[in-house]
Structure formats: structure tokens, C-alpha cells
Symmetry: C2
Subunit: 259 residues, 2 copies
């Protein structure tokens, strides 16, 4: 109903049953490449230290920004030695991977509200997108400074990387659900590919959001509200005879380009 936000879930953890992916995303510590990823705690004490360092780091990131937060400061604030942080986290960047996971869980929780009640495709999509922005809003400044890290193709933090795969798939699942749970009639050929395309559009929204300097990122909200009807109309039009070849061309191109 509102033009903007989706309220946060009362309990983010309890909202996971909505998606088919479930808890797989939040708890995948083992990296694809065994190198430089930091050790996994075995003891209870280790678990505690790890959590202490992580919480301290994320708090400082949000308070002072990513670049302004020193690993030494994190260590000092957490009351441990610098080397200890590197025992659990392969690098400063690796601390951010946790941030992704946390963000996804909250996004899922917020999106569940809309997905449970609404049936109109455009409205569902709008809800999921706004929910994503809602989730990230408190970290806007912080996100902008570390965004560059995620952009590097070879970085494990890249949304396209193998290391981000679980989180990415879970995120795509959100858009799949927005589609399948709706009353929208879609070209069957398009139906399978669309969720990934919507996720891609979401990445575009995030890209815009990161650069958005308007107060409270109002423009990003306008982007969402403006682009959703367009997508909705386009998806509807895709079944028209006239546009059939275009649809087919687009799908063909996408299949070719998928890496």
C-alpha cells in the first residue's frame, strides 16, 4: 500500500520457510578454494571469539565506514590481537561476506510479508525490490565504500563469483517466487529465465542505489516504482504475436551469453 518501505520482520530467522532454498545460504563456511579463507572454529571458545570479532567489525563498519575502520581498531575494540582476526577471517574483505548473508536473511524476511498477501505480479516485484533496499538502507554509506571490492571479477565477493553462489541462488529464488506466486501470465519460454533476469535488474537497482546521493535514496525508490510497471508491461507484451520474435531473440542472446 505504502509508496515506500516494507516493515522489517519481527523475527528474521523465522521467515526462512518461504523459500525453497532454506538455510543453505547462511551456513556455508567452507570455501571452494581452500586457500586464504581463515580457519573454522572448533571449540566453543573459538566460536565465541569469531562471533565477537565479526560483530565488532560489522558494527564499526556501519559506524565509521569500511575504509575508515582499521583492522587494528577492530582487534582493539574486540579486545584481541590483530592476528587473531586473521585466524578466523582470511582478509578484511572476508568480513563482508558475512554481511551479505545477514542481508539476504533480512531481505527474505521482509519480502515474505508481501509475498504472502499480494498476488499481482507487479506489486510482488515492487515489494521484493523495496524490501531489498529497505534492508540495505542502514548500511548505505558503508555499502558505497566497500562496493568496489565486490565489483572486481576475481574477487570472491563478486555477486557473480562461485563463492557467492549460494547467496545468489537464494536471492534469485526470491524473484522466482515473486513470479510463480503471482497471477501473471507469462510466455512459457520466458518463464524459466525471467527470475534470473529480474535478479539482474535488481543488481542494476543496487548499482543505482550505491551511486544514489539523493536524500534517503529517494531516487532509487522512484527508479523502482518507475521500472516495475515497465517490466510488468514488457512481460505481458512478450506473449503478443508481434513481439514474439523479439522475445525469442532476447532469450537466445541470453542463453548464449550465460557464462
Amino acid at each position: 500500500m505504502t509508496d515506500r518501505s516494507v516493515p522489517p520482520p519481527a523475527d528474521a530467522g523465522g521467515a526462512a520457510e518461504q523459500t525453497g532454498v532454506g538455510g543453505a545460504a547462511g551456513a556455508e563456511p567452507v570455501t571452494a578454494r581452500g586457500e586464504a579463507a581463515g580457519a573454522e572454529p572448533v571449540t566453543a571458545r573459538g566460536e565465541q571469539t569469531r562471533k565477537l570479532i565479526l560483530d565488532t567489525a560489522l558494527r564499526l563498519f556501519r559506524e565509521r565506514g569500511y575504509a575508515q575502520t582499521t583492522m587494528r581498531a577492530v582487534a582493539k575494540e574486540a579486545g584481541v590481537a590483530v592476528g587473531n582476526a586473521y585466524y578466523y577471517f582470511g582478509s578484511k574483505e572476508h568480513l563482508i561476506q558475512e554481511f551479505y548473508a545477514e542481508t539476504l536473511v533480512e531481505h527474505r524476511g521482509r519480502a515474505a510479508r508481501v509475498l504472502a498477501t499480494e498476488t499481482d505480479f507487479a506489486e510482488r516485484l515492487r515489494g521484493v525490490l523495496h524490501a531489498g533496499v529497505d534492508t540495505m538502507t542502514p548500511s548505505h554509506e558503508f555499502a558505497a565504500t566497500f562496493f568496489k571490492t565486490a565489483a572486481e571479477p576475481t574477487s570472491p565477493l563478486s555477486p557473480f563469483s562461485a563463492e557467492s553462489s549460494p547467496t545468489r541462488e537464494a536471492s534469485i529464488a526470491l524473484f522466482r517466487e515473486a513470479l510463480t506466486g503471482s497471477t501473471a501470465k507469462v510466455d512459457p519460454e520466458l518463464r524459466d529465465e525471467l527470475p534470473e533476469l529480474l535478479w539482474l535488474a535488481y543488481m542494476g537497482v543496487i548499482l543505482y542505489w550505491v551511486y544514489d546521493r539523493s536524500a534517503d535514496q529517494t531516487k532509487t525508490r522512484a527508479l523502482i516504482n518507475g521500472v516495475v510497471p515497465l517490466i510488468d508491461r514488457l512481460v505481458g507484451l512478450s506473449r503478443l504475436r508481434v513481439l514474439r520474435p523479439v522475445t525469442r531473440d532476447v532469450l537466445g542472446l541470453i542463453r548464449t551469453l550465460r557464462q
Copy 2:
């Protein structure tokens, strides 16, 4: 004619007369903000030293990659002190701005070939896009390593930053020329905005190119060849009565979002 490349210009410097922007892009040393930009050489000796440092840096970047190239290494290889490099270039990142400028000049030279002979819009656009990729191809690996730096919103290297403005405008001018020099009939409302949109699409192509791991970036070529007809068709369709409101919506949205 060819499916791919546009041959390099015999003399990159001589091809500038094609655009309306002319030499403004290559020689705009003064930054919008006076801070941290490095000094401008006044004497001939200074000019020489600056060029020496820049050439050495770009060579090492291409040879070893951006991150692997130390400022100390650049200085040593150029036979000067570290501080000297910082006298001319505000930071390591500022060395890349120069790379942008060089790339633009060569892009312009390559594109001029197609723009001088072809009149079909799609073909002109295709030519400009391929020319851009041709220009960057030798630096593909290097580009991937520094790309993350350019992605950060606050970085002067961001293609959207004020500091990149001259280069960006010159680049947009290329697409404006691709349009105005063609026989394409475009919705007059769209005509003014389209070049910037095409440039945005070009940024998208570059984004894909940076991530493209296929041999010789074949997929990026496929992306261009596939997406150009789509754009061409869309532009043509924009004049249709049925799509008029959509066109208007898109334009309205874009005007709102322009920062």
C-alpha cells in the same frame, strides 16, 4: 563488413576532427576540485618527467597488472623518486585517468572509420561499440584488475564522477554522432536523450566485457551483435502510437533519475 573488429587508425591523433568536442577531452588537466590532483608541469623538463612516469606506469600496469605494480616499482623503473610521481599524479588511481583519455582518443580514431562511411544507424552503433572493445582488448587483464577501483562511487575514476566528466562527455559525443549521422528516424523527444542512453548501454557492454572469460572475449562480440538489432528495433518502435506512452514513461523516469 567483418563480423568483428574495426581496424586501428593509422594516426590516432589525426582522427579527432570528426567529433564536435575536438581536443577538449585529451587536454583538460585542471580538476573540478582543486585538491589532491597533482601538479601540472610548466617547464619542458617537467613535461618530460611527467610523460616518463606515466608511460612507465601504464607499461608496468599492462605487464604485471594494476595491483601488482608498486608505486615504488614505477619510480624505480622510471629512475625517479616516489614522491616525484606524486608531484604529478595525485594518487595511483590518477594514473588510470590518463589511460581513459588515451583509450578515448584511440576509440575515437577507430570509430571514425565507420562513422565516415556508414549511414545505417544499427551499423554505425555496432561499429562504435566494436571499436571500443577493439581499443580495450590489449588491456583486458589489466582492466579487470583496476576495474574495482573505478567502480567505487567516491573514486575520481568512476565513469560517473565529476573528474571523468570531460572523457565521459567526449564518449557520449561518439554515440551522438552515430545517431545524428545516420538515416534513422527517431522520436524527437527521444533524440536528445538517446546518446546518453547508448553510452549507458556501452557501459553495460564494458561491464560484461570485464567479466567475460571467453577466449578473445567472443561473448562480448556476440552481445554487441545481438543487442544492437534490439536497440535498433526498439528505437524504431518508439515512434509507434501504441508504444508512445511507454516511451514517454521511460523518458520521464530517466529525467527524474538523472543526477
